[in-house]
Symmetry: C2
Subunit: 227 residues, 2 copies
DNA sequence: AAAGTTAATTATGAATTCATAATTCAGTCA
DNA sequence: TGACTGAATTATGAATTCATAATTAACTTT
C-alpha cells in the first residue's frame, strides 16, 4: 500500500480493526447481528479497551452501528444505501480508470491482461468463484495503478460495504455475459491507452452492476439472518 | 444530514470526535503538533478512555497520525497528499454536480443563486473572509442537494483535510477572478439544468483550485509551526 | 566542558474496575 | 393462562489503575 506502515508492527487496536473487519466482510458476522464484544475479547485474547477502540473505528467506516448502551451491530445494507453507494464507487472507478491508463506501463498492462485472461477462463468454465476473485483482482489492480492512496482508501471503504452483500453468487447469466463484454471493452481501451474512455466504461460498468445487484435483491429477497 | 441521528444524543466519544476535529480544522491544533491528551482530557472534563477512542477515529479519518508509544500528532498535509486528494474531491464534486442538477427544484436553485449573489458581493467588496464562507456554502449546498449521504460523508472527510490548509487566505487576485468566472458558469449550467456540464465544471473548478493551492504553497513556503 | 551513561519522570497502551442502563426472568395478579 | 411488575443478571460506557516505553535530567568520565 503506502510507505507509512513499513517497519512498525501494528498496535493492538489496528490489528483488531482488521480482524473484526474481516469477520464482517467474510460474513462470519452477518448483517444485523450483534457484535459479541465479550466473545471477541476472549477469542482474540485482549481486553475490552482495544476492542472497543476498534469498534469505534469500524463504526466511523460505517461497517457497524453503535447503539447507545446497546452495543454494536453489523450494519444492514439497505437497498437505499446500495443505491447511494454505487454512484460514488462508480465516480471513483472512473477516476481510477483515467489515472491508471495514464500511469500503467506496458508490463503493468500485461499483468492486467493476464488477470483478464484468467477471468475469461473462469467465465467459460462457469466457475463463479474464480470469476469473482479474478474480477476483483482486476478492479483492485486498476485502483492500485492509479497510484493514489486517498482514492484507494475511499474506494476500499465503499467496496467493502457493497462486496459484503455477496450478490455475485446469484449473478444472472445474462448479466454475466454483459459484464464480460464490458470487461473486454475495458481491456481494449486500456490497450489503446484511452484514459477517458476507460474511465467512462468503468463508471457505467459499476452502475450496471448496481442494476444487477438490485435484480438479485428482488429475486431472492429476505434470506438474511436477523437479530 | 440523515435520519439515523434523530433522537439519540451523542455518546461521549462522538462528541469528542467532533470537538477535537474542530480544534484541528480551525487550526487551534496545528499540523505537526502533538495532540496533548492530558490537556484535552482536562479541558473537556473527561477521562482518557473516550478521548483515546475519539483519537482512533480521527486517525482513521487521516486527520491525525498515531505513533506507537509516542502519542498522536496532527497530520501534516504534504504537497503530495494535496496532489492526490484534489482529484478525488473533484470526482466527487463532479458526481454531486450531476446529481444536484437532476434533483434540485426551482426553489433550491434560487437558494443557491442567492448564496452565489452573496459570494459575488463579497468578491466585489474584496472581502476574502465572506467570500470563503459563501463559496463553501455553495459547494456544501450542491453536495447536499445531491441527496446522497455516502457521497456527502466521503466528501466531507476529504474537504476537511484540504480546507485545513487554509490557503484561501493567500488566494491570488488572478485565481480569484478565475474562480468567480467558473462559478458564474456553474450557475448558468445549473439554470439550464445541464447536469453533465455542471459536473464537468465542478470537476475542473476543483482541479484548478489545486493549482492555486500549489501556487500559494510555492509562494509562502514553510510558515507552519513545528513540533 | 562535552559527550555518554544511567536514573527519574512522564506519557502511553492496555487491563481492570466501577456505575449505570438494558435485558432477562421469576413471581404476582387478573 | 397470560400479561404485568419488579428484582436479578448482564452488558455497556467511562474512569481508574497498572506495566512499560519514551523522554528528560542528573551524573560520571574523559
Amino acid at each position: 500500500m503506502s510507505l507509512t506502515e513499513s517497519i512498525k508492527r501494528q498496535s493492538l487496536h489496528e490489528e483488531l480493526v482488521e480482524r473484526v473487519r474481516n469477520l464482517v466482510v467474510d460474513n462470519t458476522l452477518k448483517p444485523g447481528e450483534k457484535v459479541p464484544e465479550k466473545d471477541l475479547c476472549e477469542a482474540f485474547g485482549v481486553s475490552r479497551t482495544p476492542l472497543r477502540e476498534a469498534l469505534k473505528v469500524l463504526a466511523s467506516e460505517g461497517l457497524i452501528v453503535l447503539q447507545a448502551n446497546r452495543g454494536a451491530r453489523v450494519t444492514r445494507v439497505t437497498r437505499e444505501e446500495l443505491d447511494k453507494t454505487f454512484p460514488v464507487i462508480a465516480a471513483l472507478e472512473q477516476l481510477a480508470g483515467e489515472l491508471a491508463c495514464q500511469r500503467l506501463d506496458d508490463a503493468g498492462i500485461e499483468r492486467i491482461e493476464a488477470e483478464h485472461a484468467a477471468m475469461m477462463k473462469a467465465f467459460h468454465a462457469g466457475d463463479r468463484q474464480s470469476y469473482f476473485l479474478a474480477n476483483q483482482n482486476i478492479h483492485n489492480a486498476l485502483i492500485e495503478a492509479a497510484d493514489n492512496d486517498i482514492l484507494e482508501m475511499h474506494h476500499r471503504m465503499l467496496a467493502v460495504r457493497v462486496r459484503r452483500a455477496r450478490f455475485m453468487a446469484n449473478l444472472s447469466d445474462a448479466r454475466w455475459v454483459q459484464a464480460i463484454e464490458e470487461h473486454e471493452q475495458m481491456i481494449a481501451r486500456l490497450r489503446d491507452r484511452d484514459a477517458v474512455g476507460l474511465g467512462q466504461l468503468m463508471k457505467t460498468h459499476m452502475l450496471n452492476k448496481r442494476q444487477a445487484h438490485f435484480a438479485a435483491l428482488d429475486a431472492g429477497a429476505g434470506n438474511e439472518t436477523d437479530n
